[in-house]
Symmetry: C2
Subunit: 308 residues, 2 copies
């Protein structure tokens, strides 16, 4: 799957991923009203609204981008109906040949991690048959448990030809409370990064490992160090746009081959119509605003990469 | 909710929680066959099987125990139907007045943690109405993101009168890879424990905080240290039984008041009928075997507490 992701990045010339993290207040009124008219102001109504909202954005952007990253929490908040909208979104994106990164940040002890891995990336055995529960292409994983929490995910990826992005340095303001603490003179995130590179070394695609890392755009200097520490690791970079990251900050997340990183923007793309910059599109044309925001993001990052 | 948990522990005289972590191969054949006859060998069939299995165990043990801890991964592996069985299990346990600890180990950056918190512990606003997606009483949380990943959970708990157990030292063999690394001369898990105690200090029930901690039974010496470091923190202790922990190892997780900890057993209870010790019950009477295993576990822990 890492080979497919890279092929799609090359084809679109866009090392970016659109974060499908729909808050209900991002969803334009006309979509909400239609969904609530059909299902009422219920979990089902909210789930229908975010699904229709997603569909519009995917239709408007799928030819420009290699991948999407639905954040499962935004669906899980609406219970079972929300998770059904998550699954629908995955299936729809895959039908458009987009690579789907499930931002699930799961992680647990061995057999429990195996259950998550099977449910999201592999197939679960039921009697004589096997079924894929969610079937994302990649999943994000929390490393706090160490190797035996991560290994079951890797095993499933190997068999199902899927991939991972493991949290190394997260984009939020307080990420340093634990991640930056020094251990034998080096911050925890470097130790985690080194482990990720080690796990990934035995699990290579053509040029990069299918065991990737998450490093926040909001910490470009750390990204620079981690890029060198994990040369064969693909880095998923959240925190662009709304969280403060800019193209110029991101060049060091990429290798000299122009690859090695994929930058996520969520709110900045999917709620673009709410920004003054894209307000002319109007709420009705929210998806066109998202398309324009994708084009601008690609130009920002490509420009920064070309002028380095 | 921490007050209710303590009240129920006192009433049952059983500081234990039954981990409802059903693997399909734990489910007796007669239950599997009935479920597959109705729904086929499908995700729906598997979900029905684990739900019926759970119901039998809850019916057989609910008068003996204060709480249950369903592990969401075991349901999530069966996709949407599995998560529906998770929700059904929560609702059923609550109807039996059991405290439900959702073992979800979620954690993310601010707004995303807020979505998880709302979905699992609080209510999500949809237009003029609000709905609870899953509605567990407690949830487990991963601390890797630091304060702003945890705070949204605490905020929701405060409003909804719910509680948390935050991972400090996990029970798995490789938990030490990161958690035991020394920072300024003290292991990471102590720093996390200190943060948990700090977060909890402002969020107290009558005697204990509703911000609790997870510390594995498999590391009793560390439990002893953490018990003193977090005197007002309730500790959820996984790893008893199948993972190797015994009653005698656990006394130091408790305070002098006999409270402060709740010990989880999953496989050791729910798959008791598969152990030689309980084999006489037979597969048909799996739930009676679970009841006996609960009684034995309570006796083991109470005995250890009394003789300390």
């Amino acid at each position: 799957m890492i080979n497919k992701l890279i092929k799609k990045i090359r084809k679109t010339n866009a090392p970016i991923v659109v974060g499908l993290d729909p808050m209900l207040n991002y969803v334009p009124k006309h979509i909400q009203e239609k969904a609530f008219a059909e299902y009422g102001e219920t979990l089902e109504g909210a789930a229908e609204a975010i699904w229709q909202f997603n569909k519009g954005i995917v239709d408007a952007t799928c030819d420009l981008i290699p991948a999407v990253k639905p954040q499962i929490a935004m669906y899980e908040q609406f219970g079972i109906p929300g998770l059904s909208a998550y699954k629908k979104t995955i299936d729809y994106c895959k039908s458009k040949d987009l690579v789907v990164i499930g931002d699930i940040k799961r992680g647990d002890i061995g057999s429990t991690s195996a259950a998550y891995a099977v449910g999201h990336l592999g197939k679960v055995q039921i009697g004589s048959k096997s079924f894929a529960g969610f079937d994302e292409d990649f999943a994000t994983v929390n490393p706090y448990f160490g190797t035996d929490g991560v290994k079951p995910f890797i095993d499933v990826c190997k068999e199902a030809k899927k991939g991972l992005f493991i949290l190394v340095k997260t984009s939020n303001p307080s990420s340093g409370e634990f991640q930056d603490r020094l251990i034998d003179g080096r911050p925890l995130y470097e130790w985690v990064g080194e482990m990720v590179a080690g796990w990934g070394g035995d699990h290579m695609g053509d040029d990069y490992s299918y065991v990737g890392a998450v490093v926040g755009a909001t910490y470009p200097e750390m990204g620079k160090v981690l890029r060198k520490l994990m040369p064969k690791t693909f880095i998923l970079v959240p925190g662009y746009g709304a969280q403060g990251g800019r193209g110029a900050d991101l060049v060091h997340f990429f290798n000299e081959d122009g690859l090695g990183a994929i930058v996520n923007s969520s709110r900045g793309i999917i709620a673009a119509y709410k920004q003054e910059k894209y307000a002319a599109f109007g709420e009705e044309n929210y998806a066109d605003a998202s398309r324009k925001a994708v084009e601008d993001m690609v130009a920002d990052i490509s420009g920064a990469l070309e002028s380095r």
